[in-house]
Structure formats: C-alpha cells, structure tokens
C-alpha cells in the first residue's frame, strides 16, 4: 500500500506540474506580454476612412471653375468573390476575361481578405448599370470617390492637378497614407491643406473575412469628415479665357494683375491643355503624352520661363538713374544711330537726334539708355565698377526681379540678375566695367525675367513705388482671409516722385511711340514694348503696361516667343486684354481677328511638329500601353 501511495502521489505530481506549467504559460502571454493585445486589435479593428469632398474653386465673379464629380472605385475582397459569372461581369465593366483574370490574380496576391481596388474610377454610366446587379457578385463593392471636373477647360497651369501621394510624402507627413490623393502643382498644391478638408475615420470591428461587425465602442473614437474649404480666386474667368484664345497657336505667357491689390486677374501660359485630361484613369497616359509634346504644354511659362526683358527694362534703368540723381526729365543725349565705345557700337533702330527722357522712352532709344546706365554705374562716388554694379543691382532686386516674389503659386521662379561673382568668373575680377555690361541697359545680356515679374514691375510703376505680392486666391470660405503677407506694400527704393516722367513716357509709347498701333480709343494705356534678342531664333515680342493712366486697374506683362517686334504681337494682345477687362467690349475687331488667327509658332517647334507627327503617334501608342501597364502594377 505504501508503494501505491507513492505512485498515486507521483501521478498527481505529474498532473499538477502540467497544470502549473500551463498557468505559467498563461501568465506570460496574458499578463506579461503585451504584443498579443496589439495583434488582436490588428486583427479585429479596421479603421475605415471617410474622404471629405475637396473644396470648390470660383473665379472673382463667383463663377464655378473647379468642382468634384463622383466616381466609383470597384473594390474586391477575393475570398468573398466566389462563383462569379465572369462573362456577365466582364461585359458590365467592359473588360476582357483575360484582363479579369489578371486583375483578380493581382488582388489575390495583395490579400485574400482585405479589400483592394479592382477597377479604378468607373464612370457614372458603368456604375449605374453595375449597381443594379452588384448583389449577384459577392465580394465586389463600390467605393465612391471624387474627381476634379473643370466645366470650362482653362487655366490648367494655375489649377494644377491632383495625384496619388508618393512615399516621400507619406514618410514626411503622417496625414497621408498610401493611395491618398494630394495636390501636385498649382493652386491644388499651394492650397492643399485648405482644399483637402479633414478626413474622418470610423473604427469598425471586422471578422476574419473582413466583414464589418459594428462600430468599436459605439463610435466613441470616430470622427466625421469635414469638407474642404472653397476658394474664390482673383482670376477673371472671362479675361483668362480671352487671353488663352488670343494666345492660340502662339507660344508664351501673359500675366495681368490688379495693381491696387496684387490680385492676379489672368495668367496664361501657352500652349496650355485641357485640365480635364489630368484627371482620373487617363491621367497617367495623358500626362505622358503632354510631357513629350515638343511645345512643352506642361511648362508654366507665365511663372517659370525666363526671358530677357529687352527694352521693357529701360523703364527700370530710368527710375534707378533718377533715384541716383544722374537722370532728370530734361536730361538730353544725342543719338546718331548708335552708342559708341571705342570700336564697339550698340546700335539704335533710328537716328533719334537729341532727345529727352520722355521721348527716349516713347521711341525706345538704345543710345540714350546706354548713357543712362553708364552714368548710373560710373558715378564718382564708386571706387570700382563692381561697387557701381552692386548698387544698381540692389535697386533692381527691389523691383521683384531676380528673386522669388513668394506668390501663392508654387512653381514661380526667381529670374536672373547676374551677380558680381558671375561677371568675375566670366571676365575675371576687376576686368569688367560699365561698358562691358552695357547691354543690361537695354534689357539684354544675362537678364532673365518671368511674365509674372514683368506684370509686377508694372504694378510698381502704376502704384508709383510699391507692389503687393501677386496672389491668385482672393478669399477662403470659413476663414479669416488670405495671408497678411499679401496685404503688405512692398516698396522699391525709388521714390514716388520719380515715376511721373516715366509714366508720361509710357503714355507716349502707346500714344505716338513704338506701340502706337495698339492705341485704344478713350483708354489711356501706359506701356512699353520690348524686342528681346534670342540666340535660338527670332526675337521675342514683349510688352508691359498698365491702364488707365489715372487710377490704374490692370497691369500686364506679356511675352510671345519668337514674335518679333514688341509691337507685332505683344502690344496688340496686351491692349486687347486691357480693353476686354476694362470695357468688356472690343473696339478693334480687325486687330482682334488678326490676333486670333495669327500663327507664331517658333520655327523649331514647327519643324519638330512635322518631324514628330509620325513619331508621336507611335510613341503615343507605346506610352499608352506602358502607362496602362504601370497603372496596373501599382
């Protein structure tokens, strides 16, 4: 009996040891180790995102420019998609059965039980027919999304476009998750945070097949989506459309600004494109096509293209010289058809004889302005020409040239005013002087200025000494307003009293000078033509101006690539836009017709166009297939 007593104890001991081991194990995984709780949440808690509607965009008169159109992503949960009548399904969503097989495999590889996009952005029509019979296809459901829609295709560069976020952004900004959309250029980019609204989340409990089983803690942690705020632009849609029409078959850009506020009224970059092309399923394909166009329609010339300002820059040089006390309204120089420096001559378009400032502006005399520039730079108080140049350059910078204006358009570039370093490198230190860089006096040389900056200099002259940072957004709904940065006057260092004579000169330009052909009856336009030499081909045609002379309402800067004389295309188009904006009717239908019909495509584009026509078609086809393949791979 003793033996058996011992044996029953041994057996009990074994039983209890196992029970004890279990308790230790349970204590470890239930009490000590926290990772299981996280895994459990991972399993059963699914955050469902509610996407807010993106803000709408209106023009200054309240016309709707950008809105949202619902589209429907067809989603799939492969595990639940069983016994699908593939033939009927393919017919409904217009794909072939082999495409179906590919898409299904792709979805399955991603996850059997997690939803993924089967077909992106079904049209409303496809959705309509599909929705009625969707119950026949378990595992498929439709998730609404919105796409941007532009009722009047215009101002594509201004609006920019929306695309899926890339990993750089998702890494930096925790707000964005894979598959989210974000503004990628233009207003969509710079006002992304205003337009996007606030995402909502619902925390749902899901079962192993990812079926929703009710909300977590009765929705205690849920937030609802807040729609994005609407933007009212300062853009005048009528003027913008008119500008784009005038620019058809031409390359270049024009910017019109209200000088009294810095509000951008029009901003045309030509060639443009239909913003509806960069939306939705066809975006990748269309983007690729546009990217390879020889005329570079995606390039926003109004904000990004540097052009030598040519004669339009004389105005700035005059103002600086006045401020420096080396130029007065009655200062006279003699023009014998050119400005001579030893063996070199800067040619003038005519023998102007002796003229004073106003006439020198009106007739755009090169000789006169060479004297003006050199007198500014070679003042006695400067010990070196470097010092004189720096003084001049600092003046120029205050006109918003050679630096970013920090408008609310993201692609804006700063242009170029050559630095002392640049000349030192180019000519050698101390081996250059005012005569070496005299081409700056007539806006040539290394100067680069964008149409936006051109228009901005006109705001400065119209305002006699200051500008407001140009901006495109006039008001944001539900918000105190736009940034105060746009309300501050930015002063130049040329005093107000020096502007009058320049303005008079500009009046003469249109009244009787180089732009006399673009005169508008009863509107006093102050302007200046420019013809910028261009090493790549014909001269660029430029015009800057503002109107009316008293109490200016619009300032404009325009550039027509390879347009020849400033008076050929720049001045007519600019004054037509001024007239359209101020009067809404055109008193010069002949001129308007000529501008509409004129073709000023740079030669290089023309040739390329013919040459590329065949290639393009082939490329288009292959790119389209590539784009589709890439899209699928995502």
């Amino acid at each position: 009996m003793n033996v058996s007593q011992g044996r029953s104890s041994v057996i009990l001991l074994i039983f209890f040891s196992v029970g004890f081991i279990f308790l230790i194990r349970l204590f470890t995984i239930q009490v000590i180790d926290d990772s299981y709780k996280a895994s459990a949440d991972d399993n059963a808690i699914r955050k469902v995102t509610e996407y807010p509607a993106r803000g709408l965009i209106y023009d200054r008169k309240g016309k709707l420019l950008v809105y949202n159109e619902p589209v429907y992503d067809l989603m799939i949960i492969p595990k639940q998609a069983k016994n699908t009548d593939t033939a009927q399904f393919c017919k409904l969503v217009r794909i072939t059965s082999s495409e179906y097989a590919d898409l299904f495999r792709k979805a399955k590889n991603y996850s059997q039980v997690k939803p993924s996009i089967f077909i992106k952005q079904l049209s409303v029509e496809t959705y309509g027919t599909l929705q009625e019979v969707l119950f026949k296809f378990p595992g498929f459901y439709v998730q609404p999304r919105t796409l941007r829609k532009y009722p009047d295709p215009m101002a594509a560069h201004l609006f920019g476009y929306i695309g899926e976020v890339d990993t750089n952004i998702t890494k930096k900004d925790p707000y964005y998750k894979e598959g989210d959309y974000i503004g990628k250029s233009g207003i969509e980019q710079s006002y992304e945070k205003v337009l996007r609204g606030k995402r909502g989340t619902r925390t749902m409990l899901v079962d192993v097949f990812n079926r929703e089983k009710g909300s977590f803690h009765e929705g205690k942690f849920d937030t609802s989506a807040v729609a994005g705020q609407n933007l009212t632009l300062s853009l005048d849609a009528t003027l913008q459309a008119y500008g784009e029409k005038l620019f058809q078959n031409k390359v270049g850009g024009v910017v019109a600004i209200d000088p009294s506020s810095g509000e951008i009224l029009a901003c045309v970059s030509s060639p443009g494109y239909d913003p509806n092309l960069l939306v939705g399923r066809m975006r990748t394909k269309n983007y690729a096509t546009l990217l390879f166009e020889p005329t570079k329609p995606l390039f926003n010339r109004a904000l990004m293209a540097y052009y030598p300002p040519g004669s339009t820059f004389k105005l700035i040089n005059d103002l600086i010289a006045e401020q420096e006390g080396v130029l007065f309204p009655n200062t006279a120089y003699y023009c014998d058809g050119g400005y001579h420096m030893g063996s070199q001559t800067v040619k003038c378009d005519a023998r102007h004889g002796s003229l004073t400032l106003q006439m020198a502006i009106a007739h755009s005399c090169n000789t006169y302005h060479c004297y003006v520039f050199r007198s500014t730079m070679d003042q006695k108080r400067f010990k070196t020409s470097e010092e004189g140049y720096l003084n001049w350059r600092n003046h120029v910078l205050t006109f918003g040239i050679g630096k970013r204006l920090f408008s609310d358009l993201p692609q804006e570039l700063k242009g170029n005013v050559p630095s002392v370093d640049y000349y030192d490198r180019y000519f050698g230190k101390g081996r250059w002087k005012s005569s070496t860089v005299v081409s700056l006096s007539i806006g040539q040389g290394e100067l680069g200025i964008t149409p936006l900056q051109m228009a901005n200099t006109m705001c400065i002259i119209a305002n006699k000494g200051y500008y407001y940072v140009p901006h495109i957004v006039k008001a944001i709904s539900d918000s105190a307003g736009i940034s105060p940065h746009f309300m501050e006057k930015q002063y130049t260092d040329v005093q107000a009293k020096y502007y009058d004579i320049v303005i008079d000169g500009m009046e003469s330009v249109v009244e009787s000078g180089t732009a006399a052909g673009s005169k508008i009856k009863d509107i006093v336009v102050c302007g200046k033509t420019g013809t910028a030499q261009n090493p790549h081909g014909r001269d660029h045609s430029l015009f800057v101006g503002f109107a009316p002379k008293e109490n200016p309402k619009i300032a404009i800067g325009i550039m027509v690539e390879n347009g020849g004389w400033g008076s050929d295309w720049g001045a007519p188009i600019a004054t037509l836009m001024i007239e359209k904006y101020l009067r809404d009717s055109i008193s010069r239908p002949e001129l308007e017709k000529r501008m509409f019909e004129g073709v000023v495509l740079p030669k290089i584009y023309m040739e390329e166009r013919l040459k590329e026509d065949k290639k393009k078609q082939e490329k288009k086809d292959s790119l389209a297939t590539k784009a589709i393949v890439a899209e699928r791979k995502k």
Binding site: L12, I14, R25, D33, N43, L205
Partner: protein
C-alpha cells in the same frame, strides 16, 4: 445498507459540482464564441450553443440514469461493452463520414455518432476488469501483453480512421498501468524518449549521436566495475540511437505532411502564421489579448469574429482566455486540477480494485485531453484535434465524458455495498 433508495445520497459532491460547473462554463463559452446579433436567443437550435444545450440536457439524463443503474452492472458488462465498441469502430471504418480528413462518424439518421469518443470509456472498463481479475500480477509478461492488447486494439482502429489525436489518448493508460505496478522506469523511459524525439527534430543527428555516446561514456566511467551495468548502458545507447533513427524515419515517411508541419511550427522550425501556424498563432493572440481580467462576456473579438478557427470545439479555451483573462483561465485549470485530485483521492479509497483502476483511467483520460488541448491553444503542444472535456462543443464528446465520469461516481457511491 443505509438509505438504499436515495441515489443521490452517497455520491461524491465534489465531482458532481465540478462537473456541473465545467459544463455550465463550457456552454457559456460556446455561446460567446459564436454569438452574433442575429441569433441572440440562447435556445436557437441552429446555433452551436442551442444544440449544445440539448446535448447538456441529454448528458444530465444520462448521468441520472447511470446513478440509477445497479452498481454491479458495470464490472459485469465491461467486456461486452468493449467488444461492442470495437465492432462499432470497425463499422466506422466501412461506413464513416469524412470530417476534416478524419473518418470517425457514423450517421444514424440526422444523428452523428463518434464511436471513438465512447471507445475510451469501453477500453477503460475492459482494462479495469482485466487488471482487477484475481491473481493478476503486473509483473507477468502475459499481463503486460494482454493490457497492451486491450489498450492497443481500439487505438490502432482509431489510427486507421486517420484520427491520430484520439488514438494518442490511449497512451494515457500508461499511468494506470504504472499505478497498478508497472515499473516506474516506463515513465522515465517515456520522458527520455519524448526528449529524444524533440531533440531529433531540433538538433543535427551527428551532434545528437555524439551527445548520446558522451553520456554513455560518462556513465561507463562511473559504473564500469559492474559488468551488468555496462550492458545496461550499452543497451541504453543503442535504444536511444534506435529512437533517433525511428523518429527521423517516422517524421519523414510515416507522418503526413500537415502533421509534420504542425510539429515543426510548434518547435519554431517553421514560421508560417498564415498557413500551418495560423491556428496556434491566432489562438495565442486571442488568449494573450485577454489580459488579467479579460475583455468581458461577449466582448471577445478574436473568437467571435472567427479569427480563431474551431472556436467552439477544439479551441474553446481561447474564449475563456480572451473574455475572462488570466483569472478565468486560472479558474478553469484550477477546477480541472481539483477534479483530477478528487478522482485520484476517491479512487484510492475504493475497496474494489475494479473501481480504483477505473477511476485512475478516468483521471488519466481527462488529464491527457486537458494537457493536449490547452497545451495546443497556448502553443505548448502540437495541434492535435481533441476536445477539452465538458467544455468543447459536441454531443459525442460531452456524453462520453459524462458517462466516463458518472460511472466512476456511481462506482464510488456503490463502494460501501461492495464486499471485497
């Protein structure tokens, strides 16, 4: 004797109360594990808990009937019962239904019977009967062989049904044999064999053989003076090597693919949380997420939403772990431990050898189920599909455990009437 009429008079209240508690907790867990908003009625017979309610009702009736039956009956009918169930197991092999790769069910109308569940009970009876026969000595080779046959026959038949888990349960009878006089070396041998088994899978064979040889040498230096011991050591080394070889062979040639992966997953040799390791991984997540006090009744997400497979049958313990936490798990394991202790205690007080041996059989079967089932859910044992006694959903299992336990309770209640 005293008060012959009251059948509830002499029964062991400990065991009955624990039985009722476990069954009740089991039902609550089944209810929670399959609960959803659409089926809230506790007697919805389309749901597992509704059906289980019927099985529980049935099992109470069975328990009551057993208590009414004359205590002499069981010993007398041990062999016939055994033979009947052996025959039934044979029938199953011919007409059975395939449930998850194992063929173990007989359909009788809409009623499904799983003879392998009841065969444990029959085997226990037969073994008790055989070992309680007068002048049977455990030391005799004949006794050993006959015992092995009684235990082995149903096990082999069940193995042929491809229900490895249920067959393994019969290994539990080794404790009964040990209690009745089988050498304790068998337990040590079994333990060492298990260690070798695991080592074979984890350690390269060349290392393993060197270790076995090394241990043999060490022993040799200690005991080399006695020739007999040297022989024993040589035999030990040989046997150990033989085990290693046969385990290796069995793993690679006898075991089926899924069994092999389950073992590898358990040993951490394969990590496959979506495939073979899915069950255990999800089961650990469910139990682990319960914390100290659990998520509360019906608040479990892992079991309710089907992340844990078989959550009302083999993995029922997950619901306990998730909804009642460590405290709940402690209570359940504690109750089982008390039950096992009580069975052993009661078995030892039997005057009848038959009753005692039968009691040990009950304890060993319950223990083996408990060890493998809970071990599996917490990732300490390979996934072997055997139910948790009294807890898991399923009529055959519940009824067979009820019968198993209540026959013992009846035998105990009847003990005072037995003259040895």
């Amino acid at each position: 004797m005293r008060n012959q009429g009251g059948i509830l008079q002499n029964i062991d209240r400990w065991m009955v109360v624990i039985f009722l508690l476990l069954v009740a907790m089991g039902w609550v867990s089944i209810y929670a594990s399959v609960y959803n908003d659409e089926h809230q009625s506790i007697l919805d017979f389309s749901q597992n808990y509704g059906k289980q309610a019927i099985w529980i009702g049935g099992s109470l009736l069975i328990a009551l009937s057993i208590l009414i039956i004359d205590g002499k009956f069981f010993a007398a009918f041990s062999y016939p019962t055994y033979i009947i169930f052996i025959l039934l197991l044979l029938v199953v092999l011919v007409v059975a239904r395939d449930v998850k790769g194992a063929v173990s069910w007989i359909d009788i109308g809409s009623f499904k019977l799983q003879p392998s569940e009841f065969a444990k009970f029959a085997t226990n009876m037969a073994l008790a009967k055989f070992l309680s026969t007068l002048d049977i000595r455990m030391k005799d080779l004949k006794t050993k062989i006959v015992s092995l046959l009684i235990i082995g026959l149903p096990a082999v038949l069940i193995l042929l049904q491809n229900d490895t888990g249920s067959a393994l349960v019969y290994a539990a009878f080794v404790f009964v044999l040990y209690r009745e006089g089988l050498s304790g070396n068998i337990l040590i041998f079994g333990f060492l064999a298990a260690v070798l088994f695991v080592m074979t899978l984890l350690v390269p064979k060349i290392v393993l053989f060197s270790v076995i040889g090394g241990i043999g040498l060490v022993f040799y230096f200690f005991v080399r003076k006695k020739r007999q011991n040297i022989l024993i050591i040589a035999a030990g080394v040989l046997i150990a090597s033989a085990i290693v070889f046969s385990v290796d062979y069995a793993i690679n040639h006898v075991l089926q693919e899924h069994q092999r992966t389950r073992i590898n997953v358990l040993l951490g040799k394969e990590i496959d949380p979506k495939g073979a390791g899915y069950n255990v991984n999800q089961s650990k997540i469910a139990i682990g997420s319960g914390g100290v006090f659990g998520k509360g009744f019906l608040q479990g997400t892992q079991t309710k939403y089907d992340f844990v497979p078989e959550q009302s049958t083999d993995f029922i313990f997950c619901t306990v772990g998730e909804e009642w936490g460590f405290v709940g798990s402690f209570v359940v394991i504690g109750l089982f431990m008390i039950l096992l202790w009580r069975i052993i205690y009661v078995a030892e007080r039997q005057r009848s050898q038959y009753s005692r041996i039968y009691g040990y059989g009950v304890a060993c079967i319950l223990f083996f189920h408990l060890m493998v089932n809970i071990g599996m859910t917490v990732g300490l044992a390979p996934v072997i599909g055997i139910p948790l006694p009294f807890f898991s959903y399923g009529g055959s299992s519940l009824w067979s455990f009820t019968i198993l336990l209540f026959v013992f309770i009846k035998l105990d209640a009847y003990r005072l009437e037995i003259l040895r």
